[in-house]
Amino acid sequence: MNKGKIEHKNYVYGIYSHEDNFLHAIDEIRAEGVEIDDAYSPFPVHGIDDKLGIKETQLHSAGFVLGLTGTFTALGVITWITTVNYPTMFGGKPFWSLPAFIPITFELTVLMAAVGMFFVYIKRNELFPGKIPMMVDERTTDDKFALAFGIDDKSESEIANIKNLLSKSGAEEVNTKSFE
């Protein structure tokens, strides 16, 4: 399974218009030992990850680490400011009055986790304003599902086999697409 990267110039892909057939097709084709390069769908299809053998993403771990960073940055900076850098008396409280620092610490934790994760997310998903998407078929964001196979390194016979597998699995169309 690819890492969500485009490795090929030319693709063969099949179009399905219902989720169920689409999912069956994945099973059938992988059963034949053919790796699927990309599976396009207009919405998150449940259970597709296992069928394609996609490992669970590590996004949440990133979030956790970043969150902790936030916590400690906040507490650290506040403590340094109020006790070392510029201790000031407010309303008869001690310089380091922890309860008062909790809200900001919490907010910074959430902020760092969220913002950090978002950037990790767009990085890993190769999303960026203005990026030209490499899509085999535009209808896949509307109502069609597609399975795509890179064929740059494949022989005529293999390609033929993929095509025929696709149509056998109930693809309404089987086309080829090439990116320059």
Partner: protein, 464 residues
């Protein structure tokens, strides 16, 4: 394997011959072609409001806060009332998308996109007030803890007002991320339907070049789940912290430990009301009755009656505790609320927030578009008065009788409030014409989760 869904539950999507394609068209339609006349009309009014806002705020900054009705005893009134009111409204969106997502409340999908948008715009409006209420807005940057040229001079980490700065900005940022990450796939959908190259280009930029591969989707889901997990405590924290502005003070009527839960409930209350108002209009104007169904409206009303009752209990508890405290300043503060100079504000609050929502115990009213709409307006009025009552009646008669005073607003106070509504609706109307007001992908997802057979059945039912 696709979900087995119960056919007992009322369908979340209505209308005959719904297909994925149909869903796309229904929703994207509103971003294509010229807006209808109603829209232009509404937009015009909103713009006038916005202009009023600009004038009033400019005048304030030019002359000084003195052009407001504030005085030596009542140093906050409409400004902070509006702030808290808007922040409260800004709670529904994130709550709907985050909390309901965690609770797997599928009905949220119909409304969450618009609700989140509303949240963001409401927070934008809210954010105005802490700024413009400053005597020296041009020094506003002092509230950020930046290393500065004035020697090691920092902010005061004990101040609830500073907590607000962090809470509101964090809340705003996270809401935006949450909202936008959900928008990317839908922008992609619009992009791929687009006929003109220009439109394609713009929406591609907005979509960050979304492709919709399985891997992207899996990260997408995991991101929204975690953001939801983060937003839930966040959304609760924001109004808690706003309530600290009052709860941590010494003023009778402000110095109240019940405030955090009470404010949060109030926030959800007003937020849902505002969502309700907008939804009811949007579904009509944008012809989305099939996606924002009576079922949605009813669920919203259930939340409203619940939170409304929580708020009601809070009011009564306050009164009880005031009496029970045996502390005369506290006792008088609350007596003064109900029977003092501003009794009319208190009782309008009580009527709008506590009494009227009780209607929603009856299914008939819960499912009536008209009642829901009127009620949603009521609640928004009531919640504005709640903040006014808390702020002004507590301040105008506090400890030293010698400084007791009576507050009356000036035209500027009013213009700024009305104007902020203008700002809000301007933003919302632009959103309604350019963005997918319903989360396309998510709707498709729940649509698909109805098995093929069910979909068949579903279509048949709606054919006759």
């Amino acid at each position: 394997m696709s979900h087995v869904d119960s056919l007992i539950r009322e369908p979340l999507i209505l209308g005959k011959d719904k297909t994925y394609g149909q869903i796309t068209t229904d929703i994207v339609r509103n971003t294509e072609g010229n807006p209808p006349r109603e829209w232009w009309f509404a937009f015009g009014i909103a713009l006038i409001g916005l202009l009023l806002y600009v004038v009033a705020v400019s005048w304030t900054i030019f002359k000084g806060i003195g052009v407001w009705g504030l005085q030596k005893t009542v140093n906050w009134a409409w400004d902070i009332t509006n702030f808290v009111w808007w922040v409260g409204i800004g709670h529904a969106g994130t709550l709907i998308s985050a909390v309901l997502l965690l609770f797997r409340q599928k009905w949220r999908t119909g409304i969450n996109r618009a609700a989140e948008a509303m949240t963001i715009f409401a927070v934008i409006c809210a954010g105005q007030f802490p700024l413009i209420h400053m005597g020296r807005i041009w020094q506003g940057f002092f509230i950020f803890p930046y290393a500065n040229t004035r020697g090691p001079l920092w902010v005061n980490f004990n101040s609830p007002l500073l907590w607000d700065v962090f809470a509101i900005s964090t809340y705003f940022t996270v809401s935006c991320l949450f909202w936008y990450s959900g928008l990317m796939p839908d922008f992609a959908t619009i992009r791929d339907r687009a006929t003109s190259a220009k439109r394609k280009y713009i929406y591609n930029i907005l979509s960050f070049g979304w492709r919709g591969t399985a891997k992207q989707w899996s990260r997408f889901e995991s991101l929204s789940l975690i953001l939801a997990g983060l937003s839930t405590p966040l959304v609760l924290s924001v109004h808690t912290i706003v309530s600290f502005d009052f709860a941590t003070s010494v003023i009778p009527g402000w110095h109240t430990t019940i405030f955090p839960p009470y404010f949060v409930a109030g926030a959800i209350f007003s937020g849902f009301a505002m969502v309700q108002t907008l939804m009811l209009i949007a579904r009509k104007v944008q012809k989305l009755e099939d996606y924002i169904t009576i079922a949605h409206i009813e669920s919203m009303n259930k939340v409203i009656v619940l939170t409304g009752s929580i708020v009601g209990i809070a009011y009564i508890t306050e009164l009880f505790i005031a009496w029970y405290s045996g502390y005369l300043y506290e006792q008088y503060a609350f007596y003064n609320r109900a029977f003092g100079d501003y009794y009319w504000a208190y009782w309008s609050m009580m009527t709008c927030n506590v009494l009227s929502p009780q209607l929603f115990w009856f299914k008939k009213f819960r499912r009536s578009i008209f009642v829901s709409f009127v009620m949603s307006i009521f609640v928004n009025i009531g919640m504005w008065f709640e903040r006014f009552v808390i702020i002004v009646t507590s301040l105008h008669k506090d400890f030293l009788v010698s400084s007791w005073n009576y507050f009356s607003p000036t035209w500027v106070d009013m213009a700024i409030f009305v104007g902020s509504l203008g700002l809000f609706f301007t933003l919302f109307l632009i959103f309604a014409r350019t963005f997918p007001v319903i989360a396309i992908a998510e709707v498709k997802a729940i649509f698909s989760s109805i098995s093929e057979a069910a979909q068949e059945k579903h279509r048949k039912e709606h054919n006759h």
